[in-house]
């Protein structure tokens, strides 16, 4: 059968695809490709000139951008492992409970997820206030003195990390609980009969069987944490002294404050390459048990 004939025979498939594919090409794939192209242009609001790799060369010497890359990496390296291990820990503790109590925990950790970044950032800004903020007050109860959370280069990025962890735990916890429910009970029993203690059982039964879930969480969390933005915009605007600049915040400022579209697109391409390669490395290291 020729291609045309096969396509005609499958015409209904294309008809079903049509309403999704047209907007997909116009508003998702098209802009993505245009963004790749734009990274090779000096582009502002009206004019565009081809400049080859000039944007990338400039980026390699852009102090603020390099700082943003460094900060973003630190951020990911802190937030992702903390999120993954905390949520695994919570899931393990909560899993044996009856489902109504599990429901309370799910509510507690998932409400911040639905509350949205904007809402929580507004609250945390209040909580972090050095003078009348809740956090410093609570710390003063255990004898820790006043901390300028967002005002000092040493603590600002850490403060943002706390905020992001606080609204990220919900989804991984739900996934881990579902993963735990998928482990056949017979395996746990077999481990007990073999005389394994709880820790050995966790290490040799639970953890290996959770690996696909773990990998999925790791990759999706890494991708999303690399794109940290709202906390930076609403809490620090990249300061103090560039200590909370992140890649996406740089893109936002470059594109929509200074309208340097080509340069900002080049930053986007760098982000894309970083996120892509980190995800590939994670897949390689942890095996490919996650199916699509």
């Amino acid at each position: 059968m020729t291609l045309a004939k096969r396509m005609w025979k499958a015409r209904w498939a294309y008809i079903f695809l049509f309403p999704a594919l047209i907007p997909f090409f116009i508003f998702i794939l098209g802009p993505l490709l245009a963004g790749l192209r734009l990274s090779f242009y000096e582009a502002r609001l009206a004019e565009q000139t081809f400049v080859g790799f000039a944007n990338f060369v400039k980026l390699a010497h852009d102090e603020a951008f390099l700082q943003a890359i460094k900060n973003t990496f630190i951020f990911v390296v802190v937030v992702v492992p903390v999120t993954v291990s905390l949520s695994l820990f919570i899931a393990l503790m909560v899993y044996p409970l009856r489902s109504s109590i599990q429901g309370f925990f799910r509510l507690a950790f998932y409400l911040p997820v639905v509350a949205s970044g904007v809402v929580l950032t507004m609250v945390w800004l209040y909580i972090f206030n050095p003078t009348y903020g809740l956090l410093n007050y609570l710390l003063s109860l255990v004898g820790i003195g006043r901390v300028e959370w967002l005002g000092r280069t040493e603590t600002a990025l850490l403060s943002l990390a706390i905020v992001v962890v606080s609204w990220t735990l919900g989804v991984p916890i739900i996934l881990f609980i579902a993963g735990l429910a998928g482990i056949p009970k017979s395996l746990h029993e077999a481990a007990k009969i073999d005389g394994a203690n709880s820790w050995q059982e966790f290490l040799h039964v639970t953890l290996p069987l959770l690996k696909p879930t773990l990998l999925f969480i790791l990759v999706t969390q890494t991708i999303s944490v690399f794109q940290v933005f709202i906390v930076v915009l609403l809490m620090t605007r990249g300061g103090p002294a560039n200590s909370t600049q992140t890649i996406v915040y740089r893109i936002y400022e470059t594109a929509f404050t200074f309208f340097r579209f080509g340069y900002a697109s080049a930053m986007g391409v760098v982000l894309l390459l970083i996120v892509g390669s980190v995800a590939v490395i994670q897949f390689k290291l942890l095996g490919q048990e996650v199916q699509y």
Partner: protein
């Protein structure tokens, strides 16, 4: 079929809950001590996770001097509705923001679910030239950071003169890669016999889809409607750059302007704004909790 999946999942859960609950002998308690400590920690974390939300709600009932009190007031000493009055009946068009958000999020979700269901059906149940390639394209864009397409999309909106419009805020959501992926996974599990039986009965393609496939996909439709709604509601960055007119702000964008890095913004008003922006999401979550859980797990573990 779909019911089968659900029941098998709940069964597993029941099987896996510990049966030890009945007999509390000393040795078991000893074995369980570390777990109790861990559970206590988890509980502390859960309370810490809720604390900001509590602080926000309480804060919305404090006047500025009380909001800035040291030590902080865990219960407002002089509760006031002043902030809420200012927010809801003052100069900012808060209700308009709420309507904007509802309109944008619900139209986005409706369109996203419809196009995704149709495309998911094609990918899940039909074979056609280009199937693999198209599907991978969609999956890849689902994983990639969106920021790179933001700028060309912004330029496109400028050409179309769609700044400060609903259609501008909605169009990025019409095609919803995660939705296509989820529907494909879900519809694959619908038995072919059901579809063929409908066809033998003389149902056309469209009738088969709308009368057989779609009703069987209700859990996926539910989960995805909620997901798309919340995602479009929280599409902050796009709404922020697209909309400059105060009346066209969405609720999150509007209330975000209530805080500033300066320390003297009106704290109580900001907390009232945050609470108000939180309430619709709270309602959606409480009403559709199961769909959230289903959507999250469907998207991740079903191969």
């Amino acid at each position: 079929m779909t019911n089968m999946i659900e029941t098998s999942m709940t069964e597993k859960r029941q099987i896996n809950t510990p049966s030890q609950r009945s007999g509390p002998n000393l040795r078991k308690w000893g074995r369980k001590t570390p777990w109790f400590i861990g559970l206590f920690l988890a509980l502390a974390l859960a309370l810490a996770s809720l604390l900001p939300l509590y602080w926000m709600i309480i804060g919305s009932f404090k006047i500025q001097t009380n909001a800035m009190a040291v030590p902080p007031e865990f219960w407002p000493s002089a509760p006031t509705l002043e902030n809420w009055q200012k927010l809801l009946f003052g100069r900012s068009p808060t209700w308009r923001w709420l309507l904007n958000s509802i309109a944008v999020a619900s139209i986005s979700a409706a369109l996203a679910v419809l196009t995704s269901a149709l495309a998911g059906y094609a990918f899940g149940k039909k074979d056609f030239p280009g199937r693999k390639l198209l599907f991978w394209l969609i999956i890849i864009t689902m994983m990639l950071p969106k920021q790179i397409s933001l700028i060309p999309l912004f330029i496109l909106m400028r050409k179309l003169d769609w700044f400060n419009t609903y259609q501008g805020m909605i169009v990025p959501w019409i095609a919803y890669p995660f939705g296509i992926f989820l529907f494909k996974q879900y519809m694959q599990s619908i038995p072919n016999e059901l579809i063929e039986a409908a066809r033998i009965d003389g149902a056309g393609e469209l009738r088969t889809f709308f009368n057989i496939v779609l009703p069987l996909s209700k859990p996926a439709i539910g989960a995805l409607s909620i997901f798309a709604f919340v995602a479009a509601w929280n599409d902050f960055l796009w709404q922020l750059i697209l909309v400059t007119e105060r009346n066209m702000f969405t609720l999150p964008v509007g209330v975000s302007k209530l805080v500033s890095n300066l320390s003297n913004y009106n704290l109580g008003l900001a907390m009232a704004g945050a609470t108000f922006a939180f309430i619709p999401m709270l309602i959606v979550f409480l009403a559709f909790q199961d769909y959230f859980v289903k959507g999250i797990t469907l998207g991740a573990v079903k191969g």
